[in-house]
């Protein structure tokens, strides 16, 4: 061989990328599934379930599907059988699942092998029934997406194909490939959402999932609502336990202004499913709602805490301490100029009505809120990251809209690269006294290019010191990586919101835009020291993922949550007085710690708050005592408590006694207040939905 060829050979060798272990595992798992399906098909057992929404045609694999389907008229389509239609869709979605599955890396020769019992477990009799009963209805799901059936039908005559081993490159090859896909029954379609319950982020989703999936009998679960197989991961911790004041008098946590959890819960309930308990973060549900706590006066600083002590609705032997923190609303007329970088996930998985199209609409809504001195840039990431729109003045709406509308989904997700680019662009836009923020819009899927989610978080945490904020907007369900979203937003000094409807987009990006985009206090930490003379036991409701160590409170290096302009934050403790019959812990026989309390104070506790001015390095301390009598509870406080109860009912918390859905609904209705936007009545309806669903 010659030098040129040797050079080319060497270059080809050197440049070959190492195979991505996750992609490898996903591909292998998918192949194994198809293998099993193939075996079933060979045995003449067609089967499929119909998911509740179709994908529009798009790039990549999905585009091919779209191209294939475009050629079919409705009539042809109707000539096909429903089961074939269902099979087609099911296969597409399964393909997605395989591609998007987040797994831990397995050593190369090991295959994540689903249990061999797959075939036996499939109740054969159920199979055709399901396909028929669920396929032919052009059902509309609750996100308002019509589900037109005829698009997905494949004419039957295509089924038997030539089986020459030497496949030619004739045009027949492409449809044939799809036909082969279509013979795969898809038992995996059945609500795998449940399978992710209790699975922590980063757990071996693949192995666990395939095992659970194949063991899931079809037809055993709710046939009306069938979800795509998902790879969702939620961040949560076990509910906070009751603590004994004598042993641990100080409770420390970071505030949390995220609202994502409530939206996810709503989305699940609207789809007719109880949300996975891991998706429920009580504090985010409570903080979803706007409250009008007493606003800070000029001398109060950026926010004002107000404390209300009230009876516990679910336990007469305890009391609730409701801490409402109201952020100041600075005069928005002279707000600083805003530099926004939209970092938009255009990976193939975003090609669903509730994802990229909704995202475009949402961001368009927001453009109207910007001012001429504001700047917008757009960075897309998928396959290769790129700047789609150079920094552009916000008055140039037509240019920004055009750039938004030109975004198309396709390719896999390279989140890390996109993030770096977005921060670069944001840094280039930042001027003196301006606020810069990267607004990451994604379905939460960072599956390619990030070998190490911790590394990504570390990167975001480092960038936080440059003063650039990062907020995360989650879209769509199915592979929502809530855990990554949470941790990015937390580490990036931002907010995580989940947007499932245009209404939610309006709430987050229009009504509450100032709060979402203009921080008034950084690193806000709450510490409550309970007085053992008046509080024997306490329990913080929610904030499990936000717990801080006691010593972290005074350590300005420790990151915490931000408060935006005009935003309110709520924290609720349930406290039990000494001697109350609501005490859950018996006094110690030997340790006399509880007996030696000698304090005259009848205060319940002492509330300390630390925060930094936006961009500041040194924290400021605010302190206030929690008295016994704080006056009657406001509607806001009582509504927050009702929502806290709602969240606990969803997680099956053990502290509620007999207090149930009816009580939650009554409490929420009684505290509904003005509710100009209808958020509260919406919550009541969600409670009713959850009540009905949990009755099943």
């Amino acid at each position: 061989m010659t030098d040129e060829l040797d050079a080319l050979r060497a270059a080809l060798r050197r440049a070959e990328p190492a195979p991505d272990a996750r992609a490898r595992d996903a591909a292998i798992a998918l192949a194994m599934k198809n293998f099993d399906a193939e075996q079933r098909a060979v045995q003449g057992l067609p089967a499929a379930a119909r998911p509740n929404s179709d994908r529009p045609s798009g790039a990549g694999i999905w585009n091919r599907m779209g191209i294939m389907l475009k050629g079919l008229t409705t009539q042809q389509a109707l000539a096909g059988t429903a089961s074939i239609a269902a099979i087609c869709v099911a296969v597409v979605l399964t393909g997605q699942q395989g591609w998007k599955t987040g797994t831990v890396d397995l050593p190369p020769p090991v295959i994540a092998t689903p249990p061999e019992s797959t075939i036996e477990i499939m109740p054969e009799a159920d199979v055709p029934t399901i396909a028929e009963s669920t396929a032919p209805d052009g059902r509309t799901d609750l996100q308002g997406q019509a589900v037109p059936l005829p698009q997905v039908v494949m004419p039957e005559p295509m089924a038997p194909m030539a089986d020459s081993a030497m496949e030619s490159t004739a045009p027949l090859a492409a449809p044939r490939t799809r036909q082969e896909r279509s013979v795969m029954p898809a038992p995996e379609m059945e609500g795998t959402g449940a399978n992710t319950l209790g699975k922590s982020a980063g757990a071996d989703a693949l192995g666990g999932m395939s095992a659970a999936e194949s063991a899931m009998p079809m037809g055993a679960r709710d046939l009306q609502i069938q979800q795509e197989p998902d790879t969702e991961a939620f961040a949560n911790e076990a509910p906070n336990p009751v603590k004994v004041t004598a042993e641990e008098p100080v409770s420390t946590f970071s505030i949390d202004v995220d609202t994502a959890s409530y939206s996810v819960v709503r989305n699940s309930l609207n789809m007719g499913q109880l949300p996975p308990p891991d998706a429920v973060r009580v504090e985010e549900m409570v903080n979803y709602f706007p409250y009008a706590y007493p606003a800070p006066a000029a001398e109060d600083g950026p926010f004002r805490p107000s404390v209300t002590v009230m009876p516990t609705p679910w336990n007469p032997a305890t009391r609730l301490v409701h801490i409402g923190i109201q952020g100041a609303m600075p005069a928005m007329a002279d707000r600083p100029a805003l530099n926004l970088v939209f970092l938009i996930d255009t990976s193939g998985s975003m090609d669903e009505p509730a994802k990229l199209p909704l995202l475009k609409q949402s961001l368009s809504l927001m453009l109207g809120q910007l001012r001429p001195q504001d700047q917008v840039a757009i960075v897309a990431y998928a396959g290769s990251a790129g700047v789609v729109l150079e920094p552009t003045g916000a008055q140039d709406v037509s240019r920004i809209s055009a750039a938004l509308n030109n975004l198309a989904a396709g390719g896999s997700t390279a989140g890390a690269e996109g993030l770096e680019l977005a921060y670069q662009v944001a840094a280039s836009m930042t001027g003196e006294g301006e606020v810069s923020r990267v607004l990451l819009a994604t379905d939460g899927d960072f599956n390619v290019g990030v070998s190490d989610p911790d590394g990504l978080e570390a990167y975001v945490a480092k960038k936080r010191d440059t003063g650039i904020y990062l907020s995360v907007l989650g879209f769509g369900r199915g592979n929502l990586d809530d855990a990554v979203m949470q941790s990015l937003a937390q580490n990036g000094n931002g907010q995580a919101a989940y947007i499932d409807t245009l209404n939610e987009a309006r709430k987050v990006l229009v009504d509450q835009l100032t709060g979402a985009l203009f921080p008034i206090a950084d690193d806000v930490k709450i510490q409550v020291e309970w007085n053992p003379a008046t509080v024997a036991e306490y329990r913080l409701i929610g904030y499990e993922t936000r717990a801080l160590r006691r010593e972290d409170f005074n350590n300005d290096q420790i990151d915490a949550g931000e408060i935006g302009a005009g935003v309110s934050v709520t924290a609720i403790y349930e406290v039990t007085a000494p001697g109350s019959d609501g005490l859950l812990n018996d006094p110690l026989r030997y340790g006399a710690a509880g007996d030696t309390v000698a304090t005259d104070s009848d205060e319940l506790g002492f509330l300390r708050l630390r925060y930094k001015e936006p961009g500041g390095d040194t924290s400021i301390l605010k302190e206030t005592a929690i008295g016994q009598d704080t006056g009657p509870a406001s509607d806001d406080a009582r509504f927050a408590v009702a929502i806290a109860g709602f969240g606990q009912l969803l997680t099956g918390a053990v502290y509620l006694g007999d207090w149930g859905w009816d009580d939650a609904i009554t409490a929420a209705l009684a505290a509904r207040g003005e509710d100009a936007f209808g958020y509260r009545i919406e919550a009541v309806n969600l409670m009713r939905m959850a009540q009905s669903l949990s009755a099943n």
């Binding site: 010659t2 040129e4 060829l5 050079a7 080319l8 050979r9 270059a11 080809l12 060798r13 050197r14 440049a15 070959e16 990328p17 195979p19 991505d20 992609a23 490898r24 996903a26 591909a27 292998i28 998918l30 192949a31 194994m32 198809n34 293998f35 099993d36 399906a37 193939e38 075996q39 060979v42 694999i61 585009n63 091919r64 191209i67 393909g95 395989g98 591609w99 190369p108 020769p109 295959i111 092998t113 061999e116 089986d163 081993a165 030497m166 496949e167 490159t169 090859a173 492409a174 490939t177 082969e180 896909r181 013979v183 396959g383 290769s384 896999s412 390279a414 690269e417 770096e420 390619v448």
Partner: protein, 181 residues
């Protein structure tokens, strides 16, 4: 035990419904599928997508396995066909030739030391017409003999030999152009 069995025996067993045999085949060959797909497309993402598609279709494809060729040859053929399919689809969307170009953009953050070599590779591959690229991917990338490459591509050994000399010629003229610059 399975690991010592030949690919051909495994493939035959898998075609007959042996799940373990199929799993072993996948474990052995995924990297090869992915690697060849990358060499043919120059895009890491495309290669992964293709590898996944190919794996997903492999159970059905195996029905066509007759044991007449070596399994690796048969598998290469499947990969090459999948890439050709993809190219055709891309061409209809007027995105032909994007692969290696995309890759050139995407590797911005690579180590500086590798950059020159990879630049050259991407340029060289982009300038070769697709049929020569495929030949290069098999002969140089996979270290196949010209006869084997011919089997995979469905061409005679002579055609492969001619193509490789053509590649050599083009590379040389590329080098001369660069030298002249």
């Amino acid at each position: 035990m399975l690991m010592t069995t030949s690919d051909e025996i495994l493939a035959t067993a898998a075609a007959g419904g042996d799940r373990d045999a199929f799993a072993s085949l996948l474990a052995r060959h995924y990297d090869r599928i992915n690697g060849l797909a990358w060499r043919l497309t120059g895009s890491r993402a495309d290669a992964q997508d293709l590898a996944q598609d190919i794996c997903a279709n492999l159970p059905a494809k195996l029905r066509n396995w007759r044991g007449e060729a070596r399994f690796s040859t048969w598998l290469y053929r499947v990969v090459v066909n999948a890439v050709h399919d993809q190219r055709r689809r891309n061409a209809t969307r007027q995105r032909a030739g994007q692969g290696w170009g995309d890759w050139e953009i995407a590797r911005q953050d690579e180590m500086a030391a590798d950059r020159a070599a990879q630049d050259w590779l991407a340029q060289a591959m982009t300038r070769l017409p697709p049929e020569l690229r495929d030949t290069v991917a098999l002969v140089l990338g996979e270290d196949m003999t010209q006869a084997e490459a011919g089997l995979v591509l469905g061409l005679s050994e002579g055609t492969i030999a001619w193509r490789m000399s053509e590649v050599k010629k083009r590379l040389r003229s590329m080098a001369e152009q660069e030298g002249a610059r």
